[in-house]
Each structure stands twice: as C-alpha cells, then as structure tokens.
Symmetry: C2
Subunit: 289 residues, 2 copies
Amino acid sequence: MIALSTVKIFGGIGSVFSQASAACGCDMRFAVYTPPEDIHGAGPHPVLYWLSGLTCTEENFIAKAGVQRIAAELGLVIVAPDTSPRGPDINGNDVPDDPDGAYDFGLGAGFYVDATEAPWSKHYNMYSYITEELPALIENEFPVDAARSGIFGHSMGGHGALTIHLKNPKKYKSCSAFAPIVAPSAVPWGEKALSNYLGADKNKWAPYDATALLRDHGGSQAHILIDQGTADQFLETELKPEIFKAAADQAGQTLTLRMQAGYDHSYYFIATFIEDHLRWHHRDLTQTA
Amino acid sequence: MIALSTVKIFGGIGSVFSQASAACGCDMRFAVYTPPEDIHGAGPHPVLYWLSGLTCTEENFIAKAGVQRIAAELGLVIVAPDTSPRGPDINGNDVPDDPDGAYDFGLGAGFYVDATEAPWSKHYNMYSYITEELPALIENEFPVDAARSGIFGHSMGGHGALTIHLKNPKKYKSCSAFAPIVAPSAVPWGEKALSNYLGADKNKWAPYDATALLRDHGGSQAHILIDQGTADQFLETELKPEIFKAAADQAGQTLTLRMQAGYDHSYYFIATFIEDHLRWHHRDLTQTA
C-alpha cells in the first residue's frame, strides 16, 4: 500500500492510497479520512464506505462533499474508492477503449459488479473488490471497527450501496444513498452496463438490482435513507426512486425517501445533505454496536 | 450578464455568470451565492468578495471550500471572480502565450493589479475590474448592501484581499486571508508578476504590496485575520507572514495571525477554517453596519 498524498483537514488526516488489487488485476486507488486523535482517540472507529457515481475517481467526494467536517465531529473513518479499474492494462490493451467514448460504461463506470463477459471479466470485478478485498485491507491497516461498518453512495454509487447492503446486511449495517440508480435492469444506464458486464440474460442482473433484491430476498433490518433532488436531470429517465419505494413497502423494508425540492444531481446537492447522512449512519452504527 | 449555471445549495442559489468587462476587454466569469430567502428574506445582505489563488478560476472556491453552508446560515452573499482575463483574445493573440508555460504568470495569475506594461496592459486590469466594475455590477444586479462589503482570499488572492482592503478600507470594511502573499516585492512569485505587469521600477510595485502599503500609508480600522498552515510548501519561499506581522505591529494595524499546525496550502486547509472567516467578517460587518 502506497500513500500518494496526505493532508491535514478538520484536525484529522485525509490520504489517498494505491494498492495492487487481485480482484481487479491492477492498482486501485482509494481515499481514507481518519478523525482527529486528540478528540476521538486512536480508535477503532466506525467506518463508512462511500461509492461514487459515473465518471468519478476517489477524489470527487473528498474534495467536494464537505464530509470531513462531520466525520471529524462524530469520529468516523471514511473510505472512498475509485469507481472502476484504471491503468495501462485497462484501456486499449486487455480492455478495448469504449468505441462510443461514452461516460456511462467502462472507465469510471464499474457499476460495482463482477463482470462475467469478456473482455470485462478480467478486470471489472468491483463487487469483489469493494466487499472483500478493500474492507480486508482497511480493517488491517486502519483503526476501524468492522462491526460498525456502513455504506453509502451517489447515483451509480447509490446503486452500489443499496445492492451491497441488501446482499451483506450484517457486514454493512447502515445504508443511505443520494439520487441512486435503484432499478438498473429497467433504465438505460443500467441496461447498457449490465448487458455488457453480465450478458443478455436478465436473470443474471437481479443480484445487482436493488429493487429485484428486495423482491426476491426481502429487506434488511436497517432503516435506509435516500435523498433525491426534484430538479435532478436524471430523475425520470435513470433514477425512478418510486420503483424502490414500492418494492420496499412490499418487502417491509424500512425506508425514508426524501424528495428535496429544487436540488439537482451534483455535488452541491450532496454537500447540502451530507451532514444528515453521516448523523444517520452514526446513530445506526452506535445503536447496533 | 449571462447565467452559465444555477444550482440550489444549502437552501440558497449558487450561480456562475459571464459579463463583458470594459476593464479587461473580454468576458469575465464570476460565481455568486445568495442565501436562502425563506430564512434571510430578500436582502439586501452583507457581501463578501473572495479572491482565488494562482491557477484558479471562479469554480475552485465554490466547489471545494464549503462556504455555502455558513453563508446560508449567516445570510451572506458570496462573490468569487476568476483570477485573470481569459478567452480567445488573451492567449496567442493580443497577449502571447507564456513561453515558460508556467502557472505563476499570465493566465490564472492576474495578481489583482492594473498592468502598465505591454502587452499585458490591454487586458490585465484586474484591480479596476475587482474594485470598480465587478462591485458596481453586483450592487446593481444582486441584493447586496454595499455598505457591508468585505474581502478575503487565498495565496495570490490573499495578496489581492489585503492590498485592496488597505487601499479601500471604507469600501471593504472587513478583511481576512488564507496563506496570503504579503510582500510580493520580495518573493519570487511577486517579483516575476510585478516586474512583467508593472515594469522594473520597484517604486511602482508598492501600491500592490500589502507590507509596503502598511509602511507607507498606515493601517486600517479593521481587525485583519490571517490563517497560515505550518506545513504549507510555499511558507518560507513565497508567503513569509512574519514580514506582514512586523509591518502591522509597526503601523498599529490590528492583526490576528494564526499559524495552523500541520496544514498545507490546499483547499483542505481553507475548508477547515472557512467557517471562522465567515463568522469573523459577519461580526465585523454587523458591527460597522
């Protein structure tokens, strides 16, 4: 594990690391924030994993969301990984460049799945990376209490957070999302990604579809929080939170879906409500500790 | 004036505008944040002008500093202009590209002066733009109380804030800075910029040198706040806040200089202390209103 950068922020330490990933077959980057030791001691602390949206790297969230202020206050470790494999083997070699040059598939668009289709299956194994390799590394190298882990994310990363929580509710005890993709099998972003990564058989998509997971396996014990801006340009075509709300009602999943009037899909929306999410997770992880 | 983007953030409105500038002879961009009307009414509100550092545009501060949260709470308008003229006439036409390709001169490095030397004098008139043209536009188009205006900035923008405040203490009643260049006549960044924009005669630099202004004209009635990280990579070569502190003591300028242990030159440092600065200005502008 190599530290690429380290800064002091709100009394704690924000760093970006690179580590060879077996799951992805390349070096993967991730950001870690650890809260001020003089306030919260040396840990172990509760830990939240943040999954970013399309086009993002490990940097967007830590630079723009204002998360460190509240993590410093509450004593939370924050982990923000990159959104896809990246590097010299990924583009143009093992994996061809996207002929569309599109932002919604391939680089920056791993969708938090383990790809089964060539050529993606060689590197695009973000589900295993996020749920196994990364937390093992974090728990080994940082002062975190694995029994108090939560997960959250934005857009494609909200999809990742919801599916990973629903499949691993004891590992990630708390869950929230900003403007998540909740039914990837039924929207253009998801259809493009899942058909390429997983093949044409939609039955294989269900384990990576939050709405299908609720339908097929029921809900979790967590109280999930979703914030969705009403001025989000992707609300009606890609996000459709009402589909997840209906499935949650059907499955008995406790869910608070807040439609936030006038907010869009950007990090300005995330920054506005990030404090609510951290307090939500902190409360859930303290209660279940 | 054209709105290039508008978002809701922390209940208020964050926008980026473009407007033809007579001073700079090109379109200039600036960001404006107005606080929530349902909390603070329609104004007029106190207004703070933020001047950014080398390489920045109007975007860095609004995306990374976390300023909107506190501006929303206190009811402040925030204005963040670009750091230099920019556009098709600037690079390669009226003004040649910097042969060095350096970050510390020309594009993104206006240094908040009115250039007197060709070819810079045709466009590089940031002092007039910031102190006359921009506030006239802001006071005409936005709900601000010009009698409660303050100015602050970072690095090159801290230099801008200090010099503009000291030359216009009644117009900008409050002043603060993060890691400012305080003595441009005596450090490499300033020597490069001022010699090119203003010529070799150092007497012409004094009106744009905060330390020289204190020496030659005395201090202001404001209580200036400066935060400076001790791990700032530019502290010893370019910033040297102790020079300004000595001049302030000599001139009777009230100054609080806080050396912040372990912080660097980045927006992570700014984000950590931005709340203190907004409260500082708000208090000063409320007292003097």
